[in-house]
Each structure stands twice: as C-alpha cells, then as structure tokens.
Symmetry: C5
Subunit: 312 residues, 5 copies
C-alpha cells in the first residue's frame, strides 16, 4: 500500500504559511495517507438529472440521495464530491466523510448541438469556508471546465481564481476537464486529453479528472493515457468512471490506468451508486483496494465479491 | 395533525450556530409546527401581470393587491410569498403573516418562442435582512429556476449563492423549479420533474415547488410524483396549484399529492385569490386542513363550504 | 385642496427607523403636503435628444437647459425630475426646487425595430446621496423600465435594487414603466398598462408613471385607467403627459385621469417646457391647480390664461 | 484675453466641500484662467493606431510618442489628453503639463460595418487618483461615448458614474461624444450634434468635444453649431480638430466656432502633432492665441509663422 | 554587455514611492542589470495545449512540465513566464528563477473562423501578490491582447487595469499584443504591428511582445521593425520567437531585431523547450549572449554548440 507522510506532501507556493498544515491535513485525508485519490463522484443529480438515479438497471436504493452518503459512510473512499447544498443537508448525519464541494454544475437539457456547454460556479468559496467553520469535514473543492466550448473563457477564469482562493485557505482542488463543444471533433483523443491535463497543471489543480482516451490498434487506452499523466506534471491525474460496466471490466481498467497509464487514482460515480447499498459498498472497497491498497485485480474482485475485506 | 418540535427540525450544516435558533423558528413558523408547508403564492402580479387579477371569472376583490394580504391575514396559511416591494408596502398593516420574499420575477410578455426564459434576481439578500431588521416577519426567501433554458446558468448561480446566504442568516428557502425553454419537449414529464426536484436538493433548498407531472394510463399524476419526492431527499416537495379549478377537484388532487405522491404540502395562488375574500379565506382553511391538519377530502370540502371551521 | 399630514404618510417597511422622518419629509415635500404628485419631467434631453428642445413650434427659450430650472423655480411644481449631472450643474442656483434624480436614460437613436430598448442605470445610488450631502434638495429617484423588452431583466433588477436602496436612505421612488419591444403589440392597451402598474407595486415604488390607455367606444381612456390605478395598490399612479397639445385639452384629460381614472397626479414634460417661460410657468400653475388644488378645469384654465393665480 | 477668477468658476453640486478648492484649481489650470479650453488630444495611438503617426505627410518627429510631450511642454496648451499609461511614463520628465487622463479607447480595426463601436473604460478612477497622489499634475479625465451605437448603454453608464466620481474628487471631466453606429445616418448633422451636446450636459460633464456640424447653403458650420452650444448649457462645448488641414483654414474655422458658434475652445490632435516639433509648437501657440487670447485670425497666423509670439 | 544601474531605471509615475525600490529591483532582476529582456515563454501548455510538448521533432524531455523549470534554472534567462498555478507548483523547488505570472490564456480549440479570440484573465492581481508574499520570486505579470478581435474591449480593459495594479505594487508588466480576428487581414503587417506597439505604450506596459513583421523586397523584417520600436516609446519591444527553427537562423534573426530593428530583447518559448534539456540550456545561453551580452551571432553560436560558455 502506497504511503506518504506529511513531509512528502508537496505544498504549492500559493498555500500561505498559516494554512500549510491545513493543506497537508486535507491532502493526507483525501488520499488516505497514500498520495492516491479515490474520489466518489456524487454530483450527477444536476449533471444528468434523474437519469442516473432512476430507471431500468438502477437499484431502487439510488432513488433517494441519502443512498450516496450511506455508501460514502459504510464503504471505503477518499472523498465524496457533491454540490454544496447536498453536503449541507446530509453532512450532519455523516460527519466522518471527507467532503469535496463541487462548485459548478449544469443540467444536460441544453445539448451541445444547441449551445456549447457552460457550467457556472454556483456559490462563492466563502460559502465553502463557512461550511468548514460550521464543522463540516470539507477537504477541498471541485470544478468542471469544458475546454473548447465557446464559453471556455468563463470557466477558465472561474477555475483560475477558485484554485488560488482554495489554496489560500488550505483546501485541495480537483478539476474535471472535458474538451467539448462545436470545436471539438473527438473528445476522447489522447493528445487532446493530454492538453486538458496540462491545462489543469497550469491552473494549479491538485488533481485533474479526465476521460480515459480511446484506445486503438496501436495502443490501449491506458497506454495512451501516459501522454496525459506526464503532461499533468505534479497535478495528479484520475480518470472518470463513465457509465456502468461490470465490476471486473471496471477494476481491470482502473488497474491499468494506474499501473500502465500513470494515473494516481479514480473518480467514480454511477458505477458505484447505481448498485444496491451492499453491492455499492463492496465496490468502493474493491476500487480502494486497487487505488489505495495497490491490490491486483483478482484480489480486488474478491473484495467486490465479499470473499475478502478491504479497510484502511 | 402532523406535529414536529424543535428537535425534529433538521438544520442544514450551512446554518451557523448563531442563526440555528432563528432557522428553527422560521421552519416551525412556516410549517406551523407540522413540518408541512402551506404556501400562498402571491407573486403573479409580475409573472402574469394583470391577467390573473382582472377579467372574466375573477372576483372584483382581486383587482387590488391588498386582497392578497386580507386573505393571508384572515385565512389559514403557512407563508405568503410575494415580491419585496409588495411585502414592504403592506406588512406594516398585516404584521402577523409569515412572509417569504420572492427574489426573482419576470413578466410573460416575451414568450419562450422568442427567447428562453430568464427571471433575474431583483434585489440582494441584504435587502431582505433589512426588512427583517425593520420588524417584518420574514421567514424565508424564494427563487424560480427555469431548468433547460439557455439562461439556466444565470438562475442556477443566483439560486446557489442565495441559498447559502439565506441559510447563513437563518432564513428558509423555497425554490420554484420549472423545466422550460427550447430544449424542453415536455415540461410535465415525471422523470424530468424528478430531475428538477433533485437539483433543488443539490442546491440545498428547504422546499421545492414543482409542477405536478402529467398522469397517463399506467399511473396517475400523484403516483408519478413519487419519483420526484424521493429524488428531492430532505428538500420537501410541494406542487404548484396551477390555474383555477373547482375546489373539490383541487382538494382531491392535493390530498393525493401528499398521501400518494409524497408531497409535503402545497403552493397555491390563483386558485385562492381569484375568489372573493370570503370564499378565498375558506379555501385557505380547506387547503390547510389537508396540508397541515391531515383532513380527508370530504371534511376539507366541508371547511370550504363553511359547514366546518379549521384553525391552528 | 387635498391635505395629508405626517401621520397619514404610509411609510413602507423597507424604510429603516433612522430614515423614517426623512422619508416622510420627502414624501410631503414631493406631494406638497397633498398626497398628490405634480412631477415636472426634465429628462428628455437624453431620451429625445434635441428634438424636444429645438425646432418648429418650440419656444426659443427651450434651447438652453436653464429654461427647465427657471420654470421649476418660478412655477408651481411638486418635483423636477432630471439626470444627476443636470441637477448638479443648476441646483446651486435653484436651491428651492424639490429634485428627483432620474437614474437611467437612453437616446432614441437605436429604434425598437433594430433592438429592444434597454435604458441603463447611469450612476449608483451613492452619487445621489452625495448630492444630498452636498446640500442639494433631492427628495427621490426615478427609473424607467421597458417591460416586454428582451432586456427587461436588466432593468427589473436595477430597479428592484434601487428601490430598496432609496428607501433605505429615506428617498422616494418614481418608476416610469412602459411596455415596449418586439413582444409588445399594443403599448397603450389598458390591461397591459394595468400589468405595468402592478409590477411597480411589487417592486415597491411610491409612484408609477404610465402612459394613459387608449380609449375606445365602450370606455374612455380615463375609465380604462381604473384597472391600472387599482392594480397599483399603494403605489400612486400618474400619467405621462405625452407630446404637446393645447392647454384646455391637456387639463381636461388630467382632471379625468384623477377624478375618473384614479390617478394621483401628473408627470408632464414637453407640454410645459416647449412653451415660453411665462406661458410654461402659468401652465405649471394650472396643472398644479388641478393636481394639488383639486380645481375644476375651467378655473385651471383661468390660471393658465393668467386671469387667476395659483400658489401653495 | 478672457479672464476668470476663483469666484467665477461655477462649481457643480457634486463636488463636495473638501474638494471644492481642488476643482477650482483644476478648472483654472485647465483653462489657463480664461474659462476657455485648449485641449491637445494625444489619445490617437490607440484610436488610430500608427496611422496618425507614421506615413506620408507626417513628420518623422511624430514616430516616437515623446514628441507629444515635447510639444505640450514647449508649446502653449491648456491640457494634454492621453491614456493613463502614456502619461505615467512621460509625466516625470514633463511635470509642468496639465494632464487629462483619457479613460477609454479602442482601435479602429473593427469597423462600424462589422460591429457598432464600444470603447471600454480601461482603468478605474482610483488609478487616476493614485497618479495624482504620486505627484502627476492630473487635472481631469476624459471619456468617449458613441451615441446611437448598439453598445451605447455601456458607455453611458461608465461615463455617468465616472463624472460623479471625478467631481467627487475635484477633477474636471471632458466628454468626447460622437453619434456613430448602424442607427446613425449622418454623424455631422447639426441637430444630432446638439443632441449629443445636451447629453453631455445631462451627464454633468464640464466640457464636451463634438465634431463640428456640416454646413450647407443656408448656414455655415459655425452658424449651425449654435444649436449645440446652447443645448450644452453650462457644459462648455469644444470642437474636434479632425484631420490635418493647412493652418490658415484651421485657425479660421476655430475662430468662427468660438465667435460665431459659441464654442469655448478647441480640442486638437493630428493637426498639431503630425508636424515637426518646431512647427507644432508654433501651431499650439497660434491656437491658444485664438482660444485663450482672443486674437484675430491674422495675428494668430503671425504667431504660427513665427513673426509674433504668444505666451500666457 | 549593456549595463544599467538603479538610477537609470525609468520608474513610471504610477509606481508609488513605497514600491519604487521594489520596481527598480524587479526591473533590474528581469533585465539582469542590462535593460534588455530575455523572456523564456512557458505559457503554451494552455495556449497550444500539448501540441508544443509532445510529437514528432519534440524532445521527450518536453513531455513533463518540470522540463521548463530545469531549463530556467540551469540555463541563463531573464524571466520565466508561466501561468500562476504552474509557478506555484514548481517555484518551491526552483526558487532562484525570476518569475513573470501570465495572467490570461486560452486554448486554441476554438479557431478564429468560429469566433474572434478572447483570452480571459484567470485570476486577480492579489493572487500574484500572495505568491510574492509566500516567498516566490515574482518580478512581474504578463497579459495577451488580441487587437482587432470583436472581444478586444474585454482584453483592453483587463490589461489597462492590470498594469495600474501591477505598478502600484512594484511589479513590471509585459504585454503580448497580437492583431487577430475577422477584422485583421494581415497579422504580420509592419504598420499594424507598430500600432500594437503604440497601444502597449498607451497602456503603460514596461515591455511589449510582438510578432516580427513580414519582410519584403524593399525592407527586411528587422528593418520594418523600426517603425514599431519607435512607436512603443519607453515600452521596450521584444519579438516572439515563433515556431522552432534551427539555432543559427534563430540567433541571426534575434541579433538583427536588436541591432537593426530596435528591439530590446527576445521572448522565446518553443524554440527552447522543444529541445532536450542540455540543448535547451545551451540555447538559452546563446540567446542571452546576444540579448544580454551583446555577442555577435558567431560567438553566440559557439555558446550554443558548447564551445564557449556564457554566464552573467
């Protein structure tokens, strides 16, 4: 199991001395002292509205938002990422989870064919600091940028300032960066994704969540990911989980992203919460076994199947 | 009659310690100690201009705005929702009403076929706090979001910040969320309405006002509402009253929304104020009998017909 | 002559205790202790550029802006409404006039056929308070909203905040509300004007200036105005004077607007200032005789013709 | 030579008591104690890029921006108007010039046929006050409004607030107002220019720079200017110099603008700086001889030709 | 080797007394006490995404962003220009480099044919001051303006304010100015570039980075550059390096830009970092030999080839 200690946390220079310890604590908490990130993405109730939470193939448990917090509480995760209001409502009953407040979101109603995507920042950083002051275990903030959108500039400037403000207060930052819009021919192009990863580095994010590139006959997705994980420099790269696939496939991909592609973890949502509570909890443990525990895929599958346990 | 006490009010984590009691007081006042919400919607003078207040089938009493405050004062309601200026003019003479300041509004002159809807925030939260400081009994604020509008982002960001600011000052928040715009094919689709309800939860609203979904051969409107009332989690869902129908139909629908659909109350405007003062007062009592008093429809109709009274 | 005293002034709840006396003083000054409003509109130098001040049928006196202040000083008016800069330049020489600072204005160069109207707020409320602190007799502020314009939202939000800020500082507010834009088929429709009047009430204006509705075979303009004057509630309604007509016609219309239509005064510009100083002064007295003195039309005409005087 | 003293300076009411002396000092300095304005316009390096400074018929002296400051220092002018950065770079070496900071500018690359003009404010008023605090002899600020542009509202609101802020700090303000855009058929129409002049008065500018109107068979340009100089009221009107013409023609026009048209000075750029230093210096003296010294044209030409000198 | 001392640094008047020494220190540090600027441009990871860092003809060393800092640290440069976040992540390990924080950036995904370019400011100046307070050796800030873009106004106003704020805090400013957009027919036109240089002077930049103009049969690129270097006045002009060419060609061009064209240095990115670390380090020394050491081309080539060394 990878382990880091306080001295190994690289504190960026925009964290002031008075919040240096806070930043280190948050970084260690988010990565569970491993330097790896297991992010449980719970922001889709706006992004995909109820499509991800109700319908064929989705557990009835997922119909109510508390499901997400039960999973986060009973499973093994690094951070639970959700919008401010959702966190504010449930955190009092689930105080031990590490929360990352997702700062922007949009619905999927207006398609890219109608208008290029813009996901607005929904509240100021001070509202997040207020949550922390009120006792919520907030370790960081997240923001999505759609590069190549005609509205790219608005998201770039919101993210650019947000990262500075977050670090100035000791919070870590995860950027979701997806190339999307009329100008983007292939969102899954490895070279383009590497550009997105480099953009996150320039903005100073601690982690960047990208889509895994599309593999081809010459190189697998994980092999192609190497360009991006290098381009992101000291910004740790994690891949989005995407739509639900079977656990074996999912865990295999994750293992390759880390051990071949240079990713430092995962960011998974639907794949987890669309399952029943019990199964979802086991999947978080299996994922964490790989991300945080450096397990091989087989052993992680055993965790998922409940024949082995994984805890920190 | 459903009853809650101070300990049963779930205070979200964005309410700071110093305003915790205020929030609880406001929540109990708004719900009349029941946890259920009877919202008297009085914001249509901008939204529908004079169409809702003057014309065939509308009582002459409704021509003057003071009618709304007479109803709110003599009837039985939880909160009266109106724009800041209207409240400021009449509240000194009707000090006992619980007021919810509607923060945004637009006229209906520009139709969706000309431009997607945007309803701008009309004044800052500090103007509401000033009203409260001046002695007005303001318990919360309201805001309308048109999801799927090309201007969705502006409303999302205004609402997102508003909720944080309101809670930070102990006020409760009701969101009106309606999918509307070129991108929205069917505003009354149950799945879409559930997505709207979930959005309100993510933003941290205390209550969300949605349109009731369209029923079909397989499921009634109230049955279809269940998806939304689950998706909204700890955000209480209430349905808009819509245009005026006869009292029996209206009260039956309301009863089903609560007891079948999982709604926690009602948000009713035209159905009430387009009647004469006396009739309108009796209708508020009938509605409250169902929402706050858990009456059956027949008994609520007796209240409406004046053969029985309802008070808190 | 209608008379009110301090106790009869309805102070809205957004006026704080410390500015309650100021508000009452301003209200009484603006209405000359009558509760009625005689507004001398002097904002057309931007709105209509020099069209209203130079050309055939316009007195040469009107070529220079000081004409407006001479009229305001020598005539009988309630308030003189003009842009901040104009007031700042002339008020030192005309200190006794009650000034209302018009906060927004636009030229008429871009026609509605090219773009829907937007009239921007030209300066912050604090610049008006500064004028007052410097000794200028400012009693209130004014703002124009074009309802139904595609830019309605910008004017609604500027006006909404302005009213709160003005009241918070004891100033009265007059809204000019005109439905206008691609979406507006008939600007003079009585029902639409009533909607505009109701909007002013919701925003909390003290007075609203509307165009008089178009009369037809069934009802005169003044009769149709009743819908609007009821819809405006406690916001006093006054009608715009429009382009210059002969004095007898003008005064007759005004009398009917008040005594049939429920208006509480007048808002007149061109009809006054396009005349020579002497004639303009006499017209202000004739108008005030009706608005503030409850004179009949004949006697007001005698004032205009100089055979009788009117003073407060 | 026209002369004014402190008591004759009309201080607008938006200048607070503490900055009254500063305003009077600035007004007297700018007008060289005459009440007339000789403005040396040096803002074209952005407005016209290098077209005004390099090419056929332009002195090689004009290739370097220091040329402007040499002229301002060795010649006789009232104020030198230039962008903040240019002033900041050269003022330390030319401390005796009266500076007017031009607050907005745009290049001429995007033509009106592509988009209506918008010239954005480039820096806040506080940056000008900082320059003054640092010892630069700043007496005022300038701003250009393109009336009739689809972006008119943005410039009106920036100018409206700027004038209030400048006066609040004792600075004088010169507005450049040019009707321009798709909606403007004839930029040189006398009636339209008068409307522009009146707009400047309503905004409260101390001086307004307009284009001279186009003369016709019935009235010369200077005769037609009278409408504008009356419309501008207490805002002094000066005419733009336009492109370079021979000195005799230029000085004759200027004399007529003042003595026939009612202008109170000149605003000249290219006509001065496109000449060699020596010639440019002599032209400033000739212009000032007319504007500030009330010379006849012949004697001013003698100053230009170096056979007579003019100093203050 | 050109040398300046503290007394020869021209401090613009917008630097207040308290930051005068800081400005001089920063100016001397950036120019290595020569008055000449060797700028190592490291902002392309956003501007060109990964195209400049990975692919045929690019050293594998360039795949990771730390490469840039290794070059900056081991080579000889004046300042390293990069986005705030990148600097924050690596500066703690490379504390001796002089950093210039690039304040705005955009990706190249949306082409000019789709929309005119706008590169938004990504963070406020206070975040740069915070970096400096945290011990990072920040000497200045940079900003790109696309003149002639339909979004020119937004960049002009951001840059205009930025320069004032930077100088107010003792930081130097480099503007990148490129004419670009539908309105720009020829980005490399010498006269247009001179206009861009003059714009930088009016905004008050310390240095301006332009593209070298296109030469023709009558005049070389360097000869044509003279117009721009004169137009920029006291704002030092440096030329962008452009895409990678062989070292001899590159160094010859640079020498001519300085000694023929009047440039005061260079701004070079891809030409340096697309090489292996060793080669890149030698190239920075060869460039600095010309820019800072006034070497002839042959001797600078010897430095590049490693047969001679260059240090400060």
């Amino acid at each position: 199991m990878p382990t880091i200690n306080r001295d190994l946390v690289r504190v960026p220079a925009d964290v002031p001395a008075e919040f240096r310890d806070t930043y280190i604590n948050n970084y260690l908490a988010a990565t569970q002292n491993t330097g790896r990130l297991m992010l449980f993405a719970c922001d889709q109730k706006i992004e995909h509205m109820n499509d991800d939470f109700f319908g064929e193939g989705i557990s009835a448990d997922d119909a109510e938002p508390e499901h997400l917090f039960k999973i986060g509480s009973q499973g093994v995760i690094g951070i639970l990422a959700g919008q401010r209001g959702l966190v504010a409502q449930f955190a009092p009953d689930y105080p031990d989870i590490n929360y990352l407040v997702k700062m922007n979101s949009k619905t999927h109603l207006v398609k890219t064919s109608q208008d290029d995507p813009y996901s607005p920042q929904l509240y100021g950083i001070e509202t997040v600091l207020d949550l922390r002051d009120n006792g919520v275990n907030v370790v960081g903030v997240g923001y999505t940028i759609y590069l190549g959108s005609e509205h790219e500039s608005m998201m770039m400037t919101e993210a650019g300032q947000l990262i500075a403000d977050a670090h100035a207060n000791g919070l870590i930052v995860v950027l979701w960066i997806y190339p999307r819009g009329e100008a983007v021919a292939d969102e899954k192009d490895a070279h383009l994704i590497a550009g997105a990863a480099g953009t996150a580095a320039c903005l100073g994010a601690d982690f960047v969540k990208c889509n895994p590139p599309k593999g081809d006959d010459n190189a697998s997705s994980a092999e192609k990911l190497v360009e991006a994980s290098k381009a992101s420099g000291r910004t740790g790269l994690v891949c989005a989980g995407g739509s639900t696939v079977d656990a074996a496939t999912f865990l295999t991909q994750l293992h390759e992203q880390i051990h071949v592609g240079g990713a430092v973890g995962n960011a998974t949502g639907r794949n987890i919460h669309q399952r029943s509570l019990d199964e979802a909890v086991r999947l978080t443990k299996a994922i964490s076994a790989i991300t945080l525990g450096d397990y091989e895929v087989d052993r992680a599958l055993a965790v998922f199947n409940g024949t082995e346990d994984f805890s920190l």
